[in-house]
């Protein structure tokens, strides 16, 4: 009897799951793709690349950023494999350059000069230095991050990988893949690593 009830329950839950999945895929991928193509007609190849999705973007979109375990594993593995490391193997750069980039949202918007360095725009989403009060809250606070994390080679590599490709750590993370998408070069990324981990960085000063 108990098994029958459990079975019925599982069936009911299963059907809810199916209904939700149907709702989520109410639009066939081809229909969405066609509407996107109609809404951005006549693009140059460089701009066309910005509206097309890579496999990770496509999977995260379909699964509303909550991929099943198998898909998540595949994303993490693929993104990890895509990471480009600095040629000299050093992960720490200049925190002052990192701070400049952390404050800058310049780059890749229509009308932005491609020759001017793009910023990582960290402050849009994160708190970092106690002196900068205009910070966003979409991401966790990184105030005093290096003090808690330490400055070991392992910590440096870990932070480098997170910035280069957040999805090599967490599939469908909201954070941009700055290295993978070539927003930041490996040399620039280590300036951000320094901004987070260098004991002299303002991120790690104060109380």
């Amino acid at each position: 009897m108990r098994n029958i009830i459990l079975g019925a329950l599982a069936l009911a839950l299963g059907s809810i799951g199916t209904a939700a999945a149907q709702e989520m895929s109410a639009v066939a991928p081809e229909v969405l793709d066609k509407a996107v193509a109609q809404s951005w007609p006549k693009l140059s190849p460089e701009l066309q690349a910005l509206i097309e999705q890579d496999e990770t973007q496509r999977e995260c979109s379909i699964h509303r950023n909550e991929p099943p375990a198998k898909v998540a594993e595949a994303i993490v593995a693929r993104e990890k494999a895509s990471i480009a490391y600095p040629a000299d193997g050093k992960f720490m750069g200049d925190w002052k350059q990192g701070e400049k980039g952390a404050l800058s949202g310049y780059g890749f918007r229509m009308g932005d000069d491609p020759k001017r360095a793009a910023g990582g725009n960290c402050y849009a989403c994160h708190q970092l230095s106690p002196a900068e009060i205009s910070y966003g809250t979409l991401g966790p606070s990184l105030l005093g991050y290096g003090k808690a994390k330490g400055n070991t080679p392992e910590a440096q590599k870990e932070v480098y990988e997170k910035i280069a490709n957040a999805q090599s750590v967490l599939a469908c993370s909201n954070m941009p893949r700055f290295g993978r998408n070539k927003v930041l070069s490996p040399e620039q990324i280590r300036d951000y690593v320094a901004y987070l981990l260098d004991p002299d960085s303002p991120v790690n000063k104060g109380q």
């Binding site: 969405l32 509407a35 809404s39 951005w40 999705q53 950023n65 890749f108 966003g136 941009p176």
Partner: protein
């Protein structure tokens, strides 16, 4: 007179916001709220100049057919303005597609008046020395739904399809930042820098946002429409310029308007 007033408002913002920043986020928000309330007076909101200009344009005869827009059917019958905006976007049988206000106005210009809309679309967003007929017309028509509540029908299969397409695009990640609309608009209370972001799964926030567009944007000295808001979001997301009144913009506006169902319309509002 107007620039003096704007300058006074800008000074008031600085006076209110700067000491508040040194205090706490809550107090900053309260200061900004006071500033917004001060500006929302129709007598000092330059957005109402666009409403007046839109009214003139609405009854102005032009195009190869030399007629006004007064015969334009915005969904409630030809020339019926009161409450029409509150029931958009919707399916129009004559065009056999779902249209938001801006797509519908373009259609009326082309079909009813015989106006060359390519020229109108070039001026879709105003800039210094470049007036926009669309901004003025949207301000005028939307203002005719003030005090009413969003109630788009969403019964026709193509309306349902537009909603589903909007929902799908809202979650579609792309470009170099991997952003979708959802990235910024799904975490209640979250901010970009100090700017609070509306969460569209929270009905009150969706209603407050959708019910306050079109708006006069002080930082841009211009009346801005929902199509402009869509274009601006794409720009922030590092996407190419999206086509005006395109299927994705109309689908997104359909989706967002449904999220704001029951919300009161009070436009044009005034924002930073």
């Amino acid at each position: 007179m107007l620039p003096v007033k704007l300058l006074a408002m800008a000074c008031a913002l600085i006076a209110l916001a700067v000491p508040a920043l040194a205090q706490s986020d809550d107090e900053t928000e309260k200061g900004l709220e006071k500033y917004r309330a001060m500006m929302s007076d129709p007598m000092s909101n330059p957005g109402y100049l666009a409403v007046d200009r839109g009214e003139e344009l609405w009854s102005h005869k032009r195009g190869t057919k030399n007629v006004s827009l007064e015969g334009c059917d915005l969904g409630l019958g030809p020339g019926q303005l009161r409450g029409a905006y509150a029931q958009l976007p919707r399916y129009f049988a004559d065009a056999d597609r779902v249209m938001d206000l801006e797509a519908r106005l373009l259609w009326c210009m082309e079909m009813l008046q015989g106006v060359d809309t390519a020229e109108v679309v070039k001026r879709k967003f105003s800039a210094p020395g470049r007036d926009s007929d669309m901004e003025a017309l949207v301000a005028f028509v939307a203002n005719q739904s003030n005090g009413m509540k969003f109630a788009a029908p969403l019964t026709h299969p193509k309306e349902k399809e537009a909603y589903a397409l909007g929902e799908a695009f809202f979650h579609r990640r792309s470009s170099v930042m991997d952003f979708s609309c959802q990235t910024c608009h799904s975490q209640p209370g979250a901010r970009i820098r100090l700017q609070k972001l509306p969460t569209f799964d929270t009905p009150e926030e969706a209603q407050a946002t959708m019910g306050s567009w079109p708006t006069y944007r002080v930082s841009q000295n211009a009346l801005r429409t929902m199509q402009h808001r869509m274009w601006d979001c794409m720009w922030q997301m590092r996407m190419p310029d999206i086509e005006y009144a395109s299927p994705i913009t109309v689908a997104l506006i359909t989706y967002l308007t449904k999220k704001a169902e029951g919300g009161a319309i009070e436009v044009p509002s005034i924002k930073r």
